[in-house]
Amino acid sequence: MKVYITGAATTKFGELWATSPRRLAGEAVGGALKDAGIGIRRVDALFVGNMLSGMLGGQEHLGAFFAEELGITAPAFKIEGACASGGLALHNAVNSVLSGQYDTVVVLGVEKMTDHKPEDVAIALMGAGSEEERVSGVTFPGLYAILARAHMREYGTTREQLAAVAVKNHYHASLNPNAQFHTTVTIEQVVRSSRIADPLRLLDCSPISDGAAALVITSKKLGVQILASSVATDTLGLAQRKSLTELKATQEAVKKAYTLAGVKPKDIDVAEVHDCFTIAEILAMEDLGFFAKGKAAGAIAAGETKLGASGHLVVNPSGGLKGCGHPVGATGVKQIVELVDQLRGRAGARQIKGAKIGLAHNVGGSGATAVVHILKK
């Protein structure tokens, strides 16, 4: 694919009560344009990844909303795919460049969640689930708890192995100045944190966050190349699926991505995967082909995917959704920003030496949408 990323930037993620969505967008896009060394007038189109602006903020029509903020009249689109909105926005931006319709476009992922009551946010997030799940009163921690229980039963995954994902990602986040959390946690702290949906505890869950991230995408052979951009979907609800120990959408999306990119799992140096809950990273590691089914949890707990470990692959150096924060529409774009920083060798204290190929995995709902991107230095 002859599509390249020439600019990438993210705001700080966290409880940014004093910062409006407009300011978040301006900061992220401004940073990406500066990184690309171009002005806003060079942008042919704007793709906005966002999930909750309508339900929480009462503001739809986000394409025009942010185009106005950026002072442009270029075509602008809102792309929505629950927590995969950011990845989907990039996918659409890539396709628009590949088609020849546009030459240089900006992808903006943005979400403002913490200004709203937690119960309102929980209700809004359930917009990503099936109607049956909503009617039954289940929320996403409950859905992922079902997946965790199934994995524990089938593969003997332990409570401590789940916790090891949070421990690793909090450590990575402690090295990321833009992360929501800079505190490291222990297995014991995770296991003893407040119970949310058994077996998931508070520290198994990604937080509610504000933040934005932006990319400049172009057909010009500059910067980091996008080798593959692929999407797959599955049923909205868990009840309709054949298996609760794998996410089929992830498997299908990554299969297409590996084919498009001409690479294999062993070629990946760095991966940003969708760890909305600790079990989600374990599922991702297996569904993306990095480990056989039932083997990822033990490997993560053994530190094989941690920064500085002897293993080849480092996972979620940004801190992931768990440590860096999860402003849902921004997450998929932030994952790409992290990969760009890693591949360009500018990730500071969390730099993975010699990283050449990176993979980003962004999930919507409990696996109804999966987006995979593979980038090359």
């Binding site: 409880e15 004093a18 913490t114 200004d115 709203h116 009551k117 937690p118 407040s194 119970r195």
Partner: protein
């Protein structure tokens, strides 16, 4: 010089353990107690409301007062659970207290700082020479929706401060306030229970305003945290006052006496005023007390007090009448969750 002439407190006798509330909702009791830092809270009796609690505290404040109720020229009652939307609590209290009719009565509303706002207003009226004595009361039967996290801390109590310019037990050295439009907690007219914005009540709410008022008081009074013997803060839970004290530079020792929240929870408007009373109950003459309230919406009133040689007399009377805050805390009778629901008129 304006200051406190006398004070009175009232804590209902009923208590419920947080563990019992947690169990009713199938929460881990240990987890709830640990996260809030509170073991139990005060519950009003079936026939108690903000009026009766304000009146009890006001009566107790008169026990050590050398004057007559008719010496009171102004009476302000701060509460977020005034029984009437229209019909003042202050006139009911004034009538039953025997204040007469030649006085200024007003109800104050500013979430958990309605009572301390009354203290500042009365201090201003006395300083201006408009009144000789004024009483500021903070009283609440704090409302919370069943299963809301507020249910674990919302409590009932009252504190009344009779203020004047002579015969002071504590001088008001300085006071200041800090306010902004920060909608972290609210209850619309006609709605039974308050709403809140979760974690938004913390940093942009409580901490920004208490630190704002506290810092301003220290600056304008040219005093440092170490100049004070005690500090008192609004206590929505067990963690916030400890955290804000540390941020402002106060020690655990300066704070510990005031932490009534550990024993009775958060009686909203009465919280910081009750904490001040707990300190006045044991302070020695010539000691300085830092105080900062907090009301959602939002604002904080900060005060610097210095006790006088007249304080021990009031302390002795309060002790003899079994009215010290520590004595009132120990007078308790536990109720279970169903009884709690009945006493707070939820069933």
């Amino acid at each position: 010089m304006v200051g406190i002439v006398s004070y009175g407190t009232y804590i209902p006798v009923y208590r419920i353990k947080l563990a019992d509330v947690a169990s009713a909702w199938e929460k881990d009791p240990q987890e709830v107690v640990h996260s809030l830092g509170i073991e139990e809270k005060a519950v009003p009796g079936t026939d108690e409301d903000a009026v009766t609690i304000a009146l009890e505290a006001a009566f107790n404040s008169l026990t050590a007062f050398r004057g007559k109720p008719t010496d009171i020229d102004a009476l302000f009652v701060g509460s977020e659970s005034h029984p009437y939307a229209v019909n003042p609590t202050s006139t009911i209290v004034g009538e039953l207290l025997g204040v007469g009719h030649n006085y200024l009565a007003a109800d104050m509303e500013f979430a958990c700082k309605a009572g301390s706002a009354g203290m500042q207003a009365i201090a201003g009226l006395i300083s201006a020479g408009q009144v000789h004595h004024g009483m500021a009361i903070g009283a609440d039967t704090a409302r919370s929706k069943p299963h809301d996290e507020l249910e674990y801390t919302s409590a009932a109590a009252g504190a009344a401060y009779l203020m004047g310019a002579k015969q002071l037990i504590a001088k008001l050295l300085a006071y200041t306030s800090y306010s902004s439009d920060t909608p972290d907690f609210w209850r619309r007219d006609g709605i039974r229970y308050p709403s809140h914005a979760g974690r938004f009540t913390g940093e942009p709410g409580y901490f920004a305003h208490v630190v704002g008022a506290g810092t301003r008081l220290l600056t304008t009074s040219h005093m440092k945290p170490e100049d004070f013997d005690y500090c008192v803060f609004h206590m929505p839970n067990g963690k916030f006052p400890r955290d804000v004290a540390r941020r402002l530079g106060f020690s655990k020792e300066q704070l510990s006496t005031s932490l009534t929240v550990d024993h009775i929870g958060n009686p909203y408007s009465a919280s910081s005023m009750l904490g001040l009373a707990a300190v006045l109950d044991i302070a020695k003459p010539g000691e300085k007390i830092f105080m900062a309230s907090y009301g959602s919406g939002a604002g904080s009133d900060a005060f610097a007090w210095e006790t006088t040689s007249l304080l021990p007399r009031v302390q002795k009377i309060r002790e003899r009448c079994q009215e010290l805050v520590t004595q009132e805390i120990l007078k308790k009778q536990y109720v279970n969750y169903v009884e709690y629901l009945k006493k707070t008129h939820k069933i």
